[in-house]
Structures are given as C-alpha cells and as structure tokens.
Symmetry: C2
Subunit: 244 residues, 2 copies
Amino acid sequence: MAVKYTRTHEVSYYECDVNQTMTFPAMIGIAIKTSEEQSDALNRSTEFIHQFGLTWVITNYHFTIQRLPKVGEIIQITTQAMEYNKYFCYRNFWFHDKKGNELLKIESVFVLMDIQNRKMTSVPEEIIAPFESEKIKRIKRFPTIEKIEEGESLPYRVRFYDIDSNQHVNNAMYFNWMIDVLGFDFLTTHVPKEVNIRFDKEVEYGNEVMSHYEILKTDSIKSRHEIKIGDQLYCEANITWLLK
Amino acid sequence: MAVKYTRTHEVSYYECDVNQTMTFPAMIGIAIKTSEEQSDALNRSTEFIHQFGLTWVITNYHFTIQRLPKVGEIIQITTQAMEYNKYFCYRNFWFHDKKGNELLKIESVFVLMDIQNRKMTSVPEEIIAPFESEKIKRIKRFPTIEKIEEGESLPYRVRFYDIDSNQHVNNAMYFNWMIDVLGFDFLTTHVPKEVNIRFDKEVEYGNEVMSHYEILKTDSIKSRHEIKIGDQLYCEANITWLLK
C-alpha cells in the first residue's frame, strides 16, 4: 500500500472566483504543493530528481468533483502515488471537507523528462521506490477527449507571471485560458462536475495561443477545449457541467 | 498605540515567478488576507461593514522593498491600522523573515465606499474604533506619481479569474498588466526597490485596458505606468528598480 500524505489548507479569497469557490489554477497549485511536500519528506525533492538530469512533467488530470471548496473553508488535501509502469506514474489527489466528505478527486499522470533533450525517460527505481506505489505492466487509459467539431476561439498572450521557474508555462495556466472563453454568464450559472485534460506540448514565454472551445447542450452540458498555436495542439480538455 | 496583527506564511512555488521570488499579486493577496483576519478578530469583518451599506476600497500602496520573499521561505506579515481622518484610513504592512529582518513595508490608504452609489463616505467611529488607530486632522501625502512622457503600451482583456466577489477587478491584478509589459529580459535582470501606485477608477469585467509604460534610465532606473481605457486613467504607478 502506497504512502499517503495529507496537508490542511484554509481557502483564501484570492484563490476563489466570483462564485466564491476555488479556481482550477488554485486547486492545482495546492495539489502540486502537497505532492512536493510528500516528495521532500521522502527525500525525493525536485533537487534530488535534477541530479539524474530529470524533471517531472504532468501529462493528464482527471477531476471528479462533488463540490468545489469555498472561501474560508478548511480543507484537507491528500495525495498518493498509486501505480507506475516503465514510463508513467499515476498519482491521485483527494480534497476533503472538515467532516471528511470528499469534495473532489484528481487522478493524474506524471512522466520523467530528460532536462537536456526534453524527451521522456523510463522511471528509475531509485526515484520511485520510497513512494511504495504498485508496479504495473499495463498503461492506464484515461477517458477519450472528444475533439471540437464547430468551435470559436479567443487569443491569449503568455504573460510573465504565467511562466514558472523552468521558464515554461505552469500547466495550471491552461485552465485560465480554457475557462475564460466560456464567459461570465456561463461560468456563474454552471458548476464543473468532471474535467479531463491532456497536456501535449509546452507553451513558452512569448507565444500567443488560441483557446478554442465548443459548448454542447444535449443530455448533459459539456465543453470541449483545445489550446493551439496555429495547427499545433498544446492542450485539450473536456469539461462536464451541471446547472447551478 | 494601534493594535498589531501578525500571521506566519510559507511562500509557495505558485506565488513566485521565474526569479523564485514572490509576485506583487501574491504579496498583496497575503497582505490583505492578514488585514481581513485582523478585522474578523476585532468583529469588523466584511459582513459587519456591509451592514452599514459600505465596503472598503484601497486607493494607494507604497512599497519599500529590502528583499523580496523567496520560494519556500517562512515569512511573517504584520499589519496595523495606523491613523485615520474623516475619509482616509492609513494601514501599514510589514513582511519579515524568520530572523526578524524587515523584507518590505507597504503603506496603504483605505476608504469606505457606499455600495449603492459607489461614493466615498466618512468613516463611522463604530467601524474604526476597535483598531485603536490615531485620529488625525491632516491628509497624509504619498509621493507624487510622475506621468508618462513618451511611452509604449500593450492591450489586456479582463479575464474571468481577474474579477473578485464584488465583480470588480481585484486591484492586485493591475500589477499583472503593469509588470508584464516590461518583458522577460528586464524582469529577470532588475529587482523592484520602491513602488508607488494609485487606483483611480474600477475596471470591470468585459473591459479591455491599455497598459502604458515608460522606462527611464538616469541616476536610477525607474518605470512609469498608466492603466487606461481610451483617455480615462484607471491606475498609475512609478516603480524604482535596482540591477540584480
């Protein structure tokens, strides 16, 4: 059984939007901080990984949301490295309220990238062992991300504060561009239920991306998203929404 | 002597930019959180102020920076409501490192605004009394903000995540637009020493602002900033910089 790690967090006003609930970038921020704390506690810090010439890259998130955390709420964030195979590490995050009710779950896929040639490398035992996650042979499949059929788009310029210490865009920022296109009226009348996002390529400082989207209202309300530069896909997502 | 309030904070990676130091929006976020906690502790919460039909609005910040807080650093943020007159309340914030060295000071001006007619109102005794700040007759002057003489500009669209629970742009966001125009090369070779900013008018969702700027390199390195929509000024600032 893999090692769990939990931290307590009070949701600040600046982590929330006009709905008084946590934004996606804020949720990802605190989730990743929790996993970094676990890695530090197990002596597998970012600096340790860098000694191998490697760095962690996140390729997928799958959110299942019961209720978004609210301003002022005390929440607990738990993380666990679940399984890994030759190339992929599967990590879960759970957000709970004070009473222990699950607010949301994030399943994620991490890979190790060679810092020099930016290529994916196999996972060294020495890096992964302390997390005590299960070694598996198969590749876990995440839900298929449906492509946009008839969409609209808005341009976004990468800002200085969008880039992190690796000079790449923090992947929480993609949510900023994807969510913003939906507009005030949609975002104040709908709540996200499920999010499935894949990061394909790294956006860099100086880029201008197009945030493409399509809203479908059939049995369920769904939005499809693609972040592109020209024809090149950088990130794609599907979000399922509920009426508030 | 007015009541002081202090909170401890660990600087997260997502509060820092590529320089590994705290961004202006993150510093303002944690400063305001500290003053809100003090207000709550003194039973002068936002909800209490709303009962009077009023809300706090910040009109000025004056930063004096020794050193910016770094990723992973444990800092202490102290706040104190210093003085007030009929219309203006003067609040200070100090950031200290673990050893008690002052990292930076923020002097600020708060006013109370009528929520209905958006007009400034005089400060009721009942709201201000618990802070035990000194009542003064005079209006404290902040340094004059020099106007742009020959500037350039970039446009910024107000995004959904830029607006706060009052449906107005959180004033930390103006820093995003002002800082971004300076560009990667400038921002990774200079550190801010002093910032003087005045908020004149509230930007709203759906607006597109122009972020005007001018960099002067004489005895000292200074940038002048104006956030405008057309000819209308919304926010202006001067920043003094040091070479890294």
